[in-house]
């Protein structure tokens, strides 16, 4: 059985009167892609800062790979690599200088650094970038360097704080292929926050927070089943045919009509009842956007109140 690599129990943090994180508990299993979702100001960054030992907690327990921050902060910092929302590398310096200075902060210098750099260069295809200033790289290249920096000390957990925000779809796809390779080849645990729900849909487990509290958790399938119905799209039928199904709500889509149903069982019952209508059709699960909207009442990327 896979073990929990992150355990958070009853975590709380307030800034004066504002409760940023309120009695938050969750688990992250080793090697999984964990999505931590919430609108802006929901408490995601505060939680991450407490995980990384950058912020003291008011209450609760944090355990990372068996270590507790109060007794072994440095060991925890060695186990976590962070890709921040905005690149925080030194723009005027070259990629090599940036990675060298950050590696030194983990005590990785000399040959150990060169060996690790060569490994990362192969993994992230950095060979042509080493002598270039970080400030002159494209958004995608810069993100790859951010990931290289986060992995420089070979951490067990990679925290990605909205890593693809502002990137074009092609670069996002490339970045995800790198992250997938890392998970596949190194069994790395990835802790992701994102506003792109299609990225969250690929996660092994999702926690959604709102106002500092956990409002939903589960696998994407469990969440979709719990908070969003299924959709049946019927092709090759007229609107009159669709009306015979007795459904008040349906949408016209290209080449057909889409009907919203509560769940897959309800869809099956509908099909069995009207086999003549369902000659060409498909059943799709609701999207994570629908789940997010249902749970928080807001769209992903919106600010909290």
């Amino acid at each position: 059985m896979t073990e929990d690599i992150i355990r958070i129990d009853h975590l709380s943090k307030s800034f004066r009167d504002v409760k940023a994180v309120d009695d938050l508990s969750f688990r992250v299993r080793e090697g999984e892609l964990f999505a931590f979702l919430g609108v802006n100001g929901a408490g995601k960054s505060t939680t991450i800062n407490m995980l990384c030992g950058q912020l003291a907690r008011d209450e609760g327990e944090i355990e990372i790979d068996g270590e507790r921050p109060e007794s072994n902060t440095d060991e925890i910092k060695r186990k976590i690599g962070v890709v921040f929302q905005n690149s925080v590398l030194d723009s005027p310096l070259t990629v090599y200088d940036n990675l060298q200075s950050r590696a030194a902060l983990y005590g990785i210098t000399g040959k150990a650094f060169r060996d690790r750099l060569s490994e990362l260069s192969g993994l992230l295809d950095l060979s042509g970038l080493m002598k270039r200033s970080v400030g002159k790289l494209s958004g995608g290249q810069r993100r790859r360097i951010d990931i290289a920096r986060a992995l420089i000390h070979n951490p067990k957990i990679l925290i990605l704080d909205e890593p693809t925000t502002g990137l074009d779809p092609q670069t996002r796809k490339k970045l995800w292929s790198v992250i997938s390779a890392l998970r596949r080849e190194r069994k790395m645990t990835v802790f992701l926050t994102t506003h792109y729900m299609e990225e969250a849909a690929d996660a092994d487990f999702v926690v959604i927070i709102d106002g500092g509290r956990k409002v939903a958790e589960g696998t994407p399938l469990q969440l979709k089943n719990a908070y969003s119905g299924d959709f049946v799209t019927i092709y090759g039928m007229t609107e009159e045919d669709i009306r015979t199904l007795g459904r008040e709500k349906y949408d016209k889509v290209r080449d057909g009509y889409r009907i919203s149903v509560g769940n897959t069982r309800e869809a099956t019952e509908l099909i069995l009842k009207h086999p003549e209508i369902f000659s060409d059709y498909e059943i799709t699960k609701g999207r994570m956007d629908d789940v997010f909207l249902e749970v928080t009442g807001r769209n992903p990327g919106e600010g909290g109140e």
Binding site: G53, E75, S101, G107
Partner: protein, 298 residues
């Protein structure tokens, strides 16, 4: 090793920031040109007017004393303002978010703080020593009477004053976190420090109360050291040309080469002690501030 690499990173960042580097380097040079253009004649006229009747000195000596005065003014101010400039990197790291990236590492916070101080010291000394070289070139051109010992001690005084500037700026910069604050503090230091350290105007020309107040500021003694080494050679030459010792003693007092605290002359060793002990005390405050901050976030 971590300290060496982090210090190297900070030095590179400072010198790669062309705006900051050139401002730091060019400011003393610009000051020299402005001083020579606008204040040179004023200093010269004041000096000639202050000569008692019957006392005559050569043109070379007059030029040498004016040049020495200009050089000491520029260096006394630059050592501290350049230190503030180089030490701003610690604030820029906060403003640009690099400090978060550093904080997620297990690096000892004391090493990080030391890395900023060491880098700032190296960058400041590079710029201040280059400035000293330029100023010495100017003095050589105008009228050279400096002994090798004075030149060496001038570099020593620049070192000590730069160290004091770094210690002071470390404490001040600890409380800053935005680019706006950087700009405000830079402006205040550039405009104000020259006056309160006696760089722009001799302290002896201040009113009694102000003179007493600045005698409690360590920078005053740093300025006095720089003045002392810059002018010692030319004043000795004046004595060699027959100017009575009472006159050169008066000039030493007027130009702050000789300085008093509570009516007593402050010896050279005490000047060093005041500046160095103040710098060490400020460093102690900087370390204490960092320890308190780290305990709070733990």
């Amino acid at each position: 090793m971590t300290l060496a690499v982090f210090t190297k990173r900070n030095i590179k960042l400072f010198f790669k920031d062309k705006g900051m580097f050139f401002t730091s380097l060019v400011t003393p040079a610009i000051l020299l040109v402005l001083y020579a253009t606008f204040l040179g004649n004023v200093y010269r006229d004041n000096f000639v007017a202050s000569m008692t009747e019957g006392v005559e000195v050569s043109e070379d000596v007059i030029d040498g004393i004016v040049a020495g005065q200009l050089m000491s003014s520029i260096l006394a101010v630059s050592c501290v303002t350049v230190a503030f400039c180089t030490n701003l990197l610690m604030v820029q790291d906060k403003a640009r978010g690099a400090v978060r990236d550093i904080a997620v590492t297990p690096a000892n916070p004391a090493v990080i703080s030391a890395g900023y101080v060491c880098a700032s010291l190296v960058s400041t000394l590079i710029i201040c020593f280059v400035s000293t070289g330029i100023c010495l070139g100017y003095v050589r051109f105008m009228g050279w009477f400096m002994a090798p010992h004075d030149v060496l001690m001038l570099f020593a005084a620049v070192f000590v004053l730069a160290f004091f500037g770094i210690a002071l700026s470390s404490v001040v910069n600890f409380f800053l976190s935005t680019e706006g604050q950087i700009s405000a503090v830079s402006s205040i230091i550039s405009a104000g420090y020259g006056f309160i350290c006696g760089g722009y105007m001799p302290i002896s020309a201040f009113g009694e109360a102000l003179r007493k107040a600045v005698s409690f500021l360590p920078g005053t003694y740093g300025t006095s050291l720089v003045r002392q080494y810059s002018l010692n050679g030319v004043l000795t030459e004046m004595e060699g040309q027959g100017v009575p010792a009472e006159v050169t003693d008066y000039i030493r007092e007027f130009l702050d080469c000789t300085i008093y605290f509570s009516g007593k002359e402050v010896p050279e060793s005490a000047k060093y002690a005041v500046v160095l002990i103040s710098a060490m005390a400020l460093m102690g405050i900087y370390i204490a501030l960092n320890v308190i901050k780290n305990r709070k976030s733990a």
